[in-house]
Amino acid sequence: MQLRPALTERDINRDLLRPVLATPIWFYFLLGGLAIGVCTAIGGFAWAVNHGTGVYGINRPVMWGFLLVNFVFWVGISHAGVMLSAILRLSNAEWRRPATRAAEVLTIFALGTAALHPVFHTGRPWRIYWSMPPGYDFGRGIWPDVRSPFVWDPTAISTYLTGTTLFVILLLIPDLAVLRDRSSGLMQKVYGFLSMGWKGNTRQWKLQIIAGFLLSALILPVFVSVHSIVSWDFAVQIAVEGWHATIFAPYFVIGAVHSGVAGVISVLALLRWMFRWENYIRDDHFDALARLMIVVATAWFYFLVIEFFLGIYPAEEPEISLRTLQVFEWPFNATFIVFLLMGYFVPVPLWLFRRVRQNVALMFWTTLMVNIGMWLERFIIIIPSLMRKQPLTFSWGSYNPSPIELILVAGSFCLVFLGVLTFSKFFPIIPLADAKEGVALETHVRVGKVMVPAAYREE
């Protein structure tokens, strides 16, 4: 609990709609820079389509490379949205208010970007629709094999993407109405259309709240399933000892939450700096999120250790050799150390201190660290395991990413940020209605000599 100024509805509208209604010039430069990154990646993909999958660094037996690492990473990031919105909404955590929409938007763009990776990665991307629910080519007798996780993946991801998008739209409606009322010309028409006749009457509010709760409850199992399924892409593979583990589903889900929440924190810190939203994204929000992170990170770390020990427990040479490669051999030894430090051992002890938790800069850097660590985690899971497949040492191989893969990975980051920023240009990325609701439910209590704002819980 900290001191903060009392905010009127007018203040809230002015502050939170600032990026939408009065966009600063640097914002366009930022968008332009990101767009160049995205275009480079499109060029990279075009090159790959033109020349063949050979432009990537993959080989036999390392048939999956950086693109799959990055795919898992972005699916992981996408877990923050529902984690924060749904769980916190259902449990009615007060501090969720400024974070939810940023988290959901991050979900949408991260998930959309993740979904592009299989397209980049397949040998004949123009045929990838054969594995996707909307694209099954029954006319040619192309039936999907429902046993393949590659069929589950698009199903789960498209469900999750649809659910999250509905969720965002639903919660956006009241804010869109505000924008409709404050804009003019074409934009007014657009916002008017999007706000679907929102008048803010009791029935509408009631429906919106109920729908919000329902969607939260419905999306939660999807959220668990998505990364479980992504983990099954790996765990079903009996040929790859490093992947074939029953613990993979919860391990991946919790890892996803770990990187996802960290991603949201980074984004919130950025937004707060960019739009000077100190009054909305407050230090106590970071404090609360960091506490959550400690729990999530530690749970994840538990799974990491268990996964590792279950792996080496039977003491089979291929597995031992794989673990040796992961931990002791260049360049994975360095990667492994960096991953452990960044993913857990540096940030978590730091978060134990309130001063760190409430320091936005430190929170930004520590959460960024977590995501670098988590990217490396996926790398360490995916690549070395393929290098040491089975005891057929004759084929044990190695992998170097190609420039095109690096461009595509970098481009994916540009794409996600471009998406989030573009969204914040057209829609309030902190929910106005939620913020106002927070204020409305707020009361002031006397602490010593000062009146301090405090929130009531709804009954």
Binding site: H51, G52, T53, G54, I58, N59, R60, P61, M63, W64, P118, H121, T122, G123, R124, P125, R127, I128, W130, S131, I142, W143, P144, D145, R147, S148, P149, F150, V151, D233, V236, Q237, I238, A239, V240, L386, K389, Q390, P391, L392, T393, F394, S395, G397, S398
Partner: protein, 239 residues
């Protein structure tokens, strides 16, 4: 046809000399593009059958063991269940079939193939115009972006079956000879119908030296190996 066929192979590791005749025979029969130097550096060379060489010991007690390696045509093939589009599936003759036109190139199957015998076409295969004259018209040339692997020379199975049908006779043991088996000068490779109890390969399956590679995975490979005999191997050193 009363009993369904189940094609299989027996590989006698004691006979294989590593001569590579099978390798080139397969390249020729199955329109496998020439593996250029870069393909080896990129670790993308394609050889549906290869001779794996394992080292044992140090000079002077050193040994090189040759293991011919090709698709094992697993009865429970792990490569099949992960393919989203049925581009690889099991047919009713026990073959793990690859349908090139269906494949979208996820490489999922290659990861889940414990033997690393699935080969991806990273590049469009190219032959100089003149060398194309040699291409086998029974076998399609694979384009880039798709998976391929040993088919047990399915075109020869088809041709033999078709010809036998036209001549009104049964296909008997020894009628179908894949290119590698045909070439193998030491007769280390034997091919036939495992469901035909009189076939040579069915007999070899009962041999005391018989074992299967990675048998513990439970994929039920259709390729049976005969142990290498080494009278000088230290007693008890090998299982």
């Amino acid at each position: 046809m009363a009993v369904e066929r189940k094609w299989g192979m027996a590989v006698d590791a004691d006979k294989c000399t590593g001569c590579q005749a099978c390798v080139v025979a397969c390249q020729s029969e199955n329109n496998i593009p020439v593996n250029e130097p870069d393909h080896f550096l990129q670790r993308r060379a394609i050889q549906w059958i290869r001779i794996e060489r394992y080292w044992e010991g140090e000079f002077p007690d050193v040994r090189a063991r040759f293991v011919p390696m090709l698709c094992q045509h697993c009865e429970n093939a792990p490569c099949e269940s992960v393919c989203p589009v049925f581009a690889t599936y099991h047919n009713n003759e026990g073959l793990n079939v690859q349908v090139y036109n269906r494949c979208i190139g996820t490489r999922f199957c290659a990861n889940n193939d414990p033997w690393n015998v699935r080969f991806f076409n990273f590049w469009e295969p190219v032959w100089p115009e003149t060398l194309r004259n040699q291409l086998n018209t029974d076998v399609s040339v694979r384009s880039r972006g798709i998976m391929e692997k040993c088919t047990f020379c399915i075109q020869r199975i088809r041709r033999t079956t078709r010809d036998a049908g036209l001549e009104g006779r049964e296909v008997t043991d020894g009628d179908v000879v894949p290119a590698c088996v045909q070439a193998c000068p030491t007769n280390a490779l034997v091919f036939g119908d495992l469901n035909d109890h009189d076939s040579q390969v069915a007999h070899l399956r009962e041999d005391g030296r018989q074992y299967r590679i990675l048998d513990h995975l439970g994929t039920e490979p259709s390729v049976y190996y005969m142990a290498k005999i080494d009278p000088y191997a230290a007693e008890g050193e090998h299982a």
